[in-house]
Amino acid sequence: MIKNISNLGDAALYCDFGNSVNKEINSKVIRYFQSIRNQNIQGIINLTPSYNKLIISLDLTKTNFNKIKKIIENISLDPNENLSSKKIEIPVCCNEKFSLDIERLEKKLNLNRNKILDSFFNKEYFCYMTGFIAGMPFLGDLDNDLQAKRLETPRVRVPKGSVGITEQFANIYTFESPGGWNIIGNTPISVFDKSNETNPNLISPGDSIFFKRIDINQYKNFND
């Protein structure tokens, strides 16, 4: 199922699953990721799954590229039905104080805000990967009519909890960070909890996400 395994430097395997980005290819990446993780292979220090690639980082004092390549080529994968996948509801408030880029999007997409939000909320999203910053989920796919480019000049500070869209993806800023996605709302839920070492991430690759629209009062009362 891996199309090609090459080396990324001297301490990582670059597993290529193809060039397209879709749920089917990504599910294969996730299946490999979870199976390799469950086997606790000596010398692997990190696994980085993404849309269609999996990077396997090595501790060179314990192993090397060829040894791990052989193991990965012959690995028995966990059955699909054992893969974990949760359904998660994320409340999002689109009050104007949170939807920082809604006007920009109306122009970019040539749609009014009600249309934009209707299209955004009436959908099930799939988590392709988490990362870049701790816990940030990359969710897809948005409908074609919502696909917009990044901001030309990224914001220096995107507030924690911001929900943004770019191209076919949506994401959630797990903490305040620089960023260039089009922000349409904010969630009162903490998506990344660094004090929870076992399960810091609310959302993991393979999970299904539903965004639920809430108003400003529900937002304010959410954490009471």
């Binding site: 430097g9 993780r37 980085t48 993404s50 990362g131 870049f132 660094k194």
Partner: protein, 315 residues
């Protein structure tokens, strides 16, 4: 009651607690972190007979100035560092790679690193630190690890929870050598760049920009021309990856890097050269040389053997 601590008069530019770092968290967006220069980190702990994964204080360029309060303790500073120890109004010039007995009221003034970036201070004992995922390394970007994910700041107290008294001080005759070229293996998007761009990357020298930190090292001097696409579908990164964004100026991923990125990768710095790479100061020049995987693996084994050999010479 707090008995043993350093009182920080001046924190320095980028002073953090670091250890070996945290692994197996890339998939949720958390990089390795840990001491940037692994060899000097190991030497610091070895000089004090510590467990080799013990936390140390890492500083960059200007280091901290602090006063010690408490029972006798040993310290060691490694890297290429200019520092002074002040006792009873008398200043002594410090030497790296040597352990010192520090007494109540002594001041340690780490003025600067010399033609290098990072230096390390280890103690014969334990700092009072919070661990996250098995590491106390501070990642200021994600606000993770000890010291609430923040740099050490002016006026704070660095509390020492345990002191191990050593019978003697130790010393190592060692000079941090430099290498002329940083060696690189071709990246997975090598063929995204023009012939001229690839030639420039491997034959010309680049200047290290001031905008370099624990996350990345930015280079300037020659634009690397992209002939395919200046973006790729975001995918995993590791430390040492050289990405080239659309402006053509290469960026090398360092220990606190973002875990995924969407710029094409022209190369990856070999593991054997990472410690030397991170010590190159902003404003200085860097040159690259292409090698293949078997060579890189041999060089890493040699580097490990050399590190063990250096540590075995501590007396």
């Amino acid at each position: 009651m707090i008995k043993n601590y350093f009182e920080v008069f001046r924190a320095g530019i980028n002073t953090t607690f670091q250890d070996k770092g945290r692994s197996n968290l890339h998939h949720i967006g958390i990089p390795l972190s840990g001491a940037m220069d692994g060899r000097n980190y190991l030497i610091a702990n070895s000089l004090l007979e510590n467990d080799l994964s013990s936390p140390v204080i890492e500083f960059a360029y200007q280091g901290p100035l602090f006063k010690y309060h408490g029972e006798n303790i040993n310290i060691a500073i490694t890297g290429d560092v200019i520092f002074k120890i002040k006792r009873d109004m008398v200043e002594t010039q410090g030497s790296c790679n040597k352990s010192y007995l520090i007494k109540d009221g002594d001041e340690i003034d780490i003025l600067s690193t010399n033609k290098s970036v990072y230096g390390y201070l280890a103690i014969s004992g334990e700092f009072d630190l919070k661990y996250q995922w098995g590491s106390c390394s501070t990642n200021t970007k994600a606000q993770l690890g000890s010291n609430n994910g923040e740099k050490i700041s002016d006026g704070q107290k660095i509390i020492i929870s345990k002191i191990i008294s050593l019978k003697s001080t130790k010393e190592l005759k060692h000079i941090n050598t430099k290498i002329e070229k940083i060696r690189v293996i071709k990246g997975t998007n090598y063929d995204y760049f023009s012939k001229e761009g690839i030639n420039a990357f491997f034959n010309k020298s680049f200047t290290i920009s001031k905008l370099s930190d624990r996350m990345g090292m930015r280079l300037e001097g020659h634009k690397i021309d992209n002939i395919v696409n200046t973006n790729i579908k975001s995918e995993g990164l590791i430390k040492g990856v050289v990405q080239v964004p659309s402006d053509g100026n290469p960026i090398i991923m360092l220990s606190d890097h973002g875990t995924i990125g969407g710029y094409p990768k022209i190369g990856v710095v070999i593991s054997a050269d990472y410690d030397k790479l991170v010590q190159l100061t902003s404003g200085s020049k860097i040159k690259f040389q292409e090698i293949d995987l078997p060579e890189a693996e041999t060089l890493y084994d040699l580097y490990q053997m050399e590190t063990k050999n250096i540590i075995s010479q501590i007396k």
